[in-house]
Each structure stands twice: as C-alpha cells, then as structure tokens.
Amino acid sequence: MTQLLWDGLFVGSFYALIALGYSMVYGIIKLLNFAHGDIYMLGAFIGFAALTSFGGIPASLSIGALIVVMMLSMLLTGGAGVLIERLAYRPLRGAPRLAVLITAVGVSFSLEYGVAAIAGPNPRAFPVRLEGDVFDVLGARISLPQIILMLIAAALMVLLNFYIQKTSTGRAMRSISLDRNASLLMGINVNAVITRTFFIGSALAGAAGVMAGAYYGKIDFLMGFIIGLKAFTAAVIGGIGNIKGAMLGGLVLGLVEAFGSEWFGGQWRDVFAFGVLILFLTLRPTGILGERVTERV
C-alpha cells in the first residue's frame, strides 16, 4: 500500500513537471501544445548526445555531470521551444485556436521524425544511470535517486509557482491569457513574455527528459508521445492554465493510475484513469483548481 502510494507519487511528479509546461503555454496562448511531450524527448536526446560526447564518465562523477548536462539540456530545449514558437506558432496569432493546434501536431511529427532521422529509430540506452541506496520507509522501497529527482522536481515547481503568482512577469502572463489586446495597452511586451513562457515551459520538459533518461535508462524518439498525453490529462485534471493545479493534477494522475492497475490489472489501468477523469470533470467541470468561470452576462 505504501509502495503503491509512493510509486504513484513518483510517476506523478514526472507528469507534473511536464504538465507544468503544458499548462503555462496553454495559459498564455490557449494552445494545447501537442509538441510539448516531444520537447521532453528532445531534452533526453540532448542529454544523451552531451553525455556520450563526454566519453566515458566515471561513476563517481556521474551525478555532477548529470546536473551540468541537465542545465545544458534545459538551455537548449528552452531555446528550441522559443524557436518553435517563433516559427510555427507566432505567425498564427489571431488565427483560430484549432489552427495552432494542428501546427503543434505538425511540429510534433517534425520533432519525432527529425530526431529519428538524426539518431535513428532505435531506442538508446542512457550513458549515465542513477543508482543509489534503497531505504525502507513504512514498507515502501524508496531509492535515493527517486528522492533526489522528486526534490529537483519539487524545487522547480515551487520556484515556478512563485514566479507566476508573485512577480509582475507572472502577472503579465496571466493577463495575456485573459485579454491580449488589453495587455498590450498595459505596456506589456506580449512577444517577449510569450517567448519567456515557452522558454521556461520547454526547459522544464527538457529537465524532465534528462531525468527520465538517467533514471529509467532508455530513450527513444516516440517517448514523448504517451507522457505528453498524460501531462495534458494532468494539466486538465488540475484545472488547465493553473500552475498549482498542474502539479496537483500530475500527482493525482500518478496515484489514480497506480490504484487503477492495482485494482483492475494493467490492461484496464487507462480505462480506469480516464473513467475517473471523466467522472470528476462531470462533477467539477473546471478541474481541481480551475478558476471559476466568472464571465458575467
């Protein structure tokens, strides 16, 4: 039981980290960025490329090297996010929302098969693997890498939440999502803020990619697809566009999945998870922390 909870939370924190970027981007330009999961994949591959080009890394250095590589990967995926926004999404400002959604799917294909063309379709084993002690906490096996990864994820999320809620850039992000023209009249450089949002969201996904690569040990060009869907789901459960909600949604989804496969078996897990989601949204149409629809008539 404790094992179940722990496993659920651990997977959930990955979902949460990716859901954050999803939710941020959604929040600001109302775009379901289907390419977001692929940024995560890109992050993992950048990490892979960096680590392999370092040559053999002694195990003792691996954690340090990993953190450096993670930073690098965040920088590059952040840049990639910015570039994608610039080339594929910005020209469609003011176009119907669904048009941008389709471009996002196009970007997703391009990233997936672009990486497949460069790195080959084969899955790769990550050169550095996080290994560490295992503790027994209330009957659950918890490993050191898991704890480290969860701490990193939590720290990133807390920072981000502060940034969005308390800084004026954060306020600007929220205002753009509500009314872009009015935001312009406040003197907000909408382009710059959107760029920054993409950078942060993509960098978080990149970090998650490297972390997943190092923890699970395998990366492949389609690895972003399922987790992208999961993150989308998590973001919605939490109340899309809401940063705290995305974190909560990720954790909840992780737990729901863990219980689903425990109770109904692996093959029915997703049916259970989506079933819970549908039921939940039927009762609470704006997600856990979704803002009340306050449009007045």
Binding site: S168, R171, A172, S175, L178, L185, T294, R296
Partner: protein, 236 residues
Amino acid sequence: MAMLEFDDVEVFYGKVQALRGMNLRVDEGEIVALLGNNGAGKTTTLSTASALVRAHAGRVAFNGQDVTRAHPWNVVSAGLIHVPEGRRIFSTLTVLENLQLGGYLVKERGLVAKRIERVYELLPLLAERRTQQGGTLSGGEQQMLAIGRGLVAGPKMLMLDEPSMGLAPLIVNQVMQVISEIRDQGTTVLLVEQNARAALKVTDRAYVIDGGATTIEGSARDLMADSRIIDAYLGA
C-alpha cells in the same frame, strides 16, 4: 507643443476603411474631446495612436516621436495610455492585480503602490472591492477600474474611450472631475465621449469625426453654441 498629432492617417480593417485622412492635434496640457456617430472612427483613432491598429498611410506622432510603426508597449512606455472601450478588465484577476498591471512598466516599486492608494481615494468604490475578481464587478465598477488602471501607469497623456459609459450620474460627475484634476497635475487628455454635455464641460477643445475624418473643430465653448453640435450631440 503638440503632444499627439495625426497627419492624413488612413486605416483599413481588411477592405473596410475606417480612417480616411485623419488630421488631429492635441497640445500638451489640453483636454480634447472627440465626438462622432457610431462607426465614425473614434475608437479606431485611439487604437491607432496606441499602436493596436496600424496606419496604412499617414503619420502619427506622440511627444515629437514618430509612433506610426511602434509597438504598443513602446507607446505605453513613452507615456501614452489608452483606456479602451468596453473596459477590458482582466476578469479572473483581482481588482488589485488589475491595478498593478496598470503599472506594469513602472520600475519603482513603491510608486505603483502609492498610485494605487491614490486611485482608491479617487474612486472609493474600488477600495472596497480590492480582492474581488475583476470580472464579477458590476458594469460601472468595471469602468472605474479601467480608468483607475490607466491612472496607475502615470500617463503623460491619457486617452479615454467613453469613460462615462455605464456610470451612474453621480459617478459621471466624479469621473469628469478626476479628469480635470489629472489635467491640472499635468496630464494631457484625449476623450471620446457620447455624453457630450458632460464632456464639453471639462474640455478645452473638441473635434467631430465623421466617416473617418474630422469635420468640425473648435473650442468647447464655441461648439456648445454650434447648432450642428446641439442637434446631434447635446439636444435642445
């Protein structure tokens, strides 16, 4: 000195021409009103000045600076603030957050807070509602918030698009007083108003816009006596 100047400005929305050779001049320290029928191009004029809408021809200058091709945020940082038609309140942000956004480009921290306090003094109804979501305010409350938000920016020049819309008579007077007060403190004002009677009381000069160009121009006093104005905007 001219604060805002339009030279033969033309604006199109797709194929629809909204401004046809608009010429306009607002001098520093003036309150100028724009009058005109629905669809005449008043809102478009303001939007062009704040660079929300791009002029296809002609030139717009603010404070001696050509802003025809500027970005809206450049215009705002130059000190030209536009309080838009229809309020455009950020609906899920609180009243306080809305006001803070008004001061987005103000670098000094304390200054924004000080100005917000001042807005609360001028429009006390807002003070009571500082933590309420902007979208749930009543129409008139939203209008006050929109004006307050413009003031927090500390404008050199303020453009107000129908600020009295939806305000109770008492408040209309209050707002007009606020407008003349801020002018007295050195802010230039361009005012689009349908409530011409209230507007002309506080303005120095006014233009009438028709079909995307100015047709009549004159001092408030003259215009209040002009029969064309009386028939169309003031009533007998």
